[in-house]
Subunit: 339 residues, 4 copies
């Protein structure tokens, strides 16, 4: 049984990760840790309601408990600060924050990291972007897996196949209109997450400036002016639906699009391709690790609207982290993630 | 045109009050004031979207602006501190807080007022509990109206007629199981009002200890052991539904109950009595000043379940405050409140 | 007092129209009518809870009651069948359905009208597309006003100014990603409107094929390949948010866009222009007749995301119908619509 | 691997049951069957999205497929009609309907069974009320398990311990104010389950007359006049919270109540007792088979408000059905139900 630890189990992604690890057949119950300097406490187990102890973080404790794998569900500054020492101590790390996802320093600027420099670059060079459908081989041997953002997961998986096959006219621009449930905004109570400001409401936020934009551009190999990326807040707890709009380089058929998607995603057990007229819905992916993809071709067969759905806490965060762990340890990729 | 001022227009009750006063035909646009010591700002008008100035509070400003009527949508401590001076300066006050509602010092203990004493007692003796269906004549001439709490409004209006007529066996106890929308919990973001903790959830809180209990007991003339009062948080923005359970002293008919209700509420333009099998629903009172009342008799005709619905921001707060103002100034009681 | 009648007052748009007419100071309480051949009944008044009679439709009844203005909140086939006779009888008509909105026969094909021909063309030639911001002068004298669809209202008002000013590069295509609350889907219970299929869910529907597409193209003077229009179902009762994406012909500033919008919408009392970074939200237009418009410019200043919000039952249906009535009778355009 | 079949897999309870059986380690994928005379079809697998065939029901098919255990998620009339033959053919049956739960003919009257008589009585005499915490031993050997209703599950589990211990003053009456999510109302679209009639709304229904009343009375050994049972519709998908009010025979302490609950529920792995001030919430039981129980004692220690929460599709239907199956086949009671 693998011994792992989670820092940040009280946030929404950390709690879902705790739930998934507690029911995983090959992993011992994870050690739950508060952030360095914070007190411990208790967590109501999302599996059986037991009160699980949260212990104050220390490297010694990790050592004593024989921890091999460290999950960080922490703010990105914390991940920047801790990962170097974790790697030095020989731990493997799956980091759910945005700390180690981006190669391009311009895209990283949005995070305002205070530790940019050679040491950080050295860590970064060992980080693998943890999207199994793109980087499975590198994940297998990675010491540091940078778990992708929720929005990028929902945008990259549907678009990459068609981009690789040259179907999309990138010069005319791709529009990605994403909508997310409220758990994606974190657990800290704010005016913007107050029930009375979300329920019976809907609004856009972070247009052109969302910090997930860089991840999408980098993984898709697009230039900034080729992608218009916006996000909206849905009055639901969990789930993302991304509506993707683009022009085709040549008029195509549903068959052309389906072939491209199915070819790329062959063997990707968590990507489900829906043939028209079937369309993904958030409710079909909630509480799962699936990414559902559908599309509609315009009557002139030159434009496409694609729709993808994920659970922002599942494939968009904790589920994908467990999927990465499964790969890192050579297990069945679906272990603990279906049913 | 009456000149009035609102302190606390950015809270949910204060915002609804602003909306109602802005559309009231006999009232000038209210002066919006921040709490003493706080900066001013702007308020997005709930009527037409104009940016309304919020000015820092001062007694001089009230004087300069010729304010006659002061609405306090403030925490009860603020109301306790300000009302004595307001009365001294000759202002009339409608206070939406719990500061001046209770005669019984035991019931007041829950508020932990720091200024209990002769001066406060003197103010209190001039306060009228602002429920027009009970105290219309006193409200007319009151200098200080203590606007009722939202839960008490939903409990007192249906129960009082039957209590007065001696229909209820109070010795067997009355159960009041109330459920409220989230705006009743105030605008301050907390873990308990985070969308992801309220949506798809439901929970009880404040059982046996809610600070509105005293108001209900006092207005209904009940002893503490005769009322079991509980409250729950509904995943909706606005609205309260109270389910009331009691035994009858003698087996009765629907006609008996209906007569009692209609007799008491004759001429009460905001109380609607629904004959069985029609039942109140929150959606019919949302955004109104109505209190809807229905009931069901047990097959043995000895027990009753009554149901009442109000909008916690309407009849439960701002609407009732405007109704009180209408009475204080001798206007039609429904002025500005219907449609 | 104008005497009017509503056919279809039990649907969501018809009910909101009833509410607005009941509180309108210049209109008598409307005569409520069932569809020909259907029985009458009663309607719980959305204003004061009185039970309003719904009478079986007949032309004689309209005549007896001295009805001048007929509102049709009916399926489009019913409006096609009734409007010719209504006009013959000298009635003025505001039709909320899609029956008489489209000039282009290709766009009309989606409705599959069975009565296409000279007679219908003659009626159509007298119909005015009832969007006051575009056709106020014609509405004033119209005998037949074709009240616009909800989605088109939310798309045309923000885009038309920039199109007229030649700011938008239409050759690169406009994307309109619209999201609507459930009342837009009508009152008939279906699997798709069941609470358990909508709550905590989100999905696209009607991509490239929604029957409102023709209205948008026709009023904006666009060709089909220039607009990608999609719609999604939001888990809210009321409100539409449309996200609009386009390329500019030349790099522009926020000032350029704001000038274009404000110039066109000068004097349009229900259109509110929000300067960046302020963004429209559905909650600010719910239960109003406003259309709020905001936008964000891309960092390269060549692309724009615009956001517009309306209440689908307000400016998207009943509110706009009342606004049209106000113009038809020479009243203040905001009469009965603010507050 | 046990071979089982489900009739009614497209309803909400049937779908949840399908999900639970598909992930159960000791059960083969269930045979999905339409009701006799209805066509088959396909079901989107709630586990992995595969399209599962639904085959037309026939006894021959059950035989061919070697089915041992038949789950009926069907209307009660269907269960009445099929169970006798199923038993004759040697099948074991878990029936999720109300067909075989009640011994008392008066309580059964609400179902208006057309087949009352000796044959039905004979079947009934073999039926076991499938609540493991009450009847585990009989369930083990039962050929026919009548799976309890959702509301009764939430009411019986918290009340029975205190009733057995004589703590409750039943003569003063017990009030059970229950609130349920919309999946409890079934999948058929109706006016009452339309999103726009449920969202931002709340209402009572079925007061004093709900057909689950008899189950509660019978299992608790109460007389009709001793229980006031009401139900309300919550704007959530899944979950029941029951608020239970009663007087104690003698003043008691929290310790007295806790002892009674813990004694009875020792070894009941799906019942969680929360000590004050902790309170159950619907979100902690959603998507689980748990029943959470909490309580609050009045200041005079003579009255109690208990709160219980279950998932109406979990412990209230499909989860309890799987728990019963686990007992019937001698497996670990939690098999397939935790995590």
């Amino acid at each position: 049984m693998l011994r792992s630890a989670i820092v940040g189990s009280t946030g929404y992604a950390g709690l879902e990760l705790t739930r998934l690890l507690l029911r995983h057949p090959l992993v011992a119950p994870p050690l739950l840790l508060s952030r360095e300097g914070q007190e411990g406490g208790e967590l109501f187990s999302p599996v059986d309601g037991a009160m699980l102890p949260i212990r104050p973080f220390s490297w010694e404790l990790l050592n004593q408990e024989g921890i091999e794998l460290l999950f960080l569900a922490t703010p990105h500054e914390v991940s920047r600060a801790w990962v170097p020492e974790a790697l030095d101590r020989g731990l493997r790390v799956v980091d759910l924050s945005g700390a180690w996802r981006l190669r391009n320093r311009d895209y990283r600027a949005v995070y305002k990291f205070s530790d940019e420099g050679e040491a950080a670059d050295s860590v970064l060079s060992r980080a693998v972007f943890g999207m199994p459908e793109l980087h499975r081989d590198q994940i297998r041997d990675a010491q540091l897996v940078a778990n992708p953002g929720c929005y990028p997961t929902s945008v990259i998986l549907p678009l990459l196949p068609l981009l690789k096959d040259g179907l999309i006219d990138v010069e005319r621009g791709i529009v990605s209109d994403a909508k997310s449930g409220v758990t994606g905004a974190g657990k800290k109570p704010t005016q913007g997450t107050h029930f009375a400001e979300v329920s019976e409401n809907f609004r856009a936020y972070g247009v052109f400036t969302h910090r997930h934009t860089g991840e999408i551009l980098e993984q898709l190999g697009l230039q900034p002016q080729q992608l218009t990326f916006s996000v909206h807040l849905l009055p639901i707890r969990r789930g993302i639906l991304s509506s993707l709009y683009f022009h085709l380089r040549h008029a195509a058929t549903d068959g052309d699009i389906e072939r491209s998607l199915r070819k790329f995603h062959t063997g990707h057990c968590f990507v489900r391709i829906f043939s028209p007229p079937r369309q993904p819905e958030v409710q079909h992916v909630a509480y799962t690790n699936f990414c559902d993809i559908g599309w509609t071709l315009s009557p002139d067969r030159k434009r496409v609207m694609m729709v993808s759905c994920i659970d922002n806490l599942g494939k968009g965060a904790a589920g994908q982290a467990v999927q990465n762990m499964n790969i890192m340890y050579g297990w069945n990729e679906t272990e603990g993630l279906i049913g």
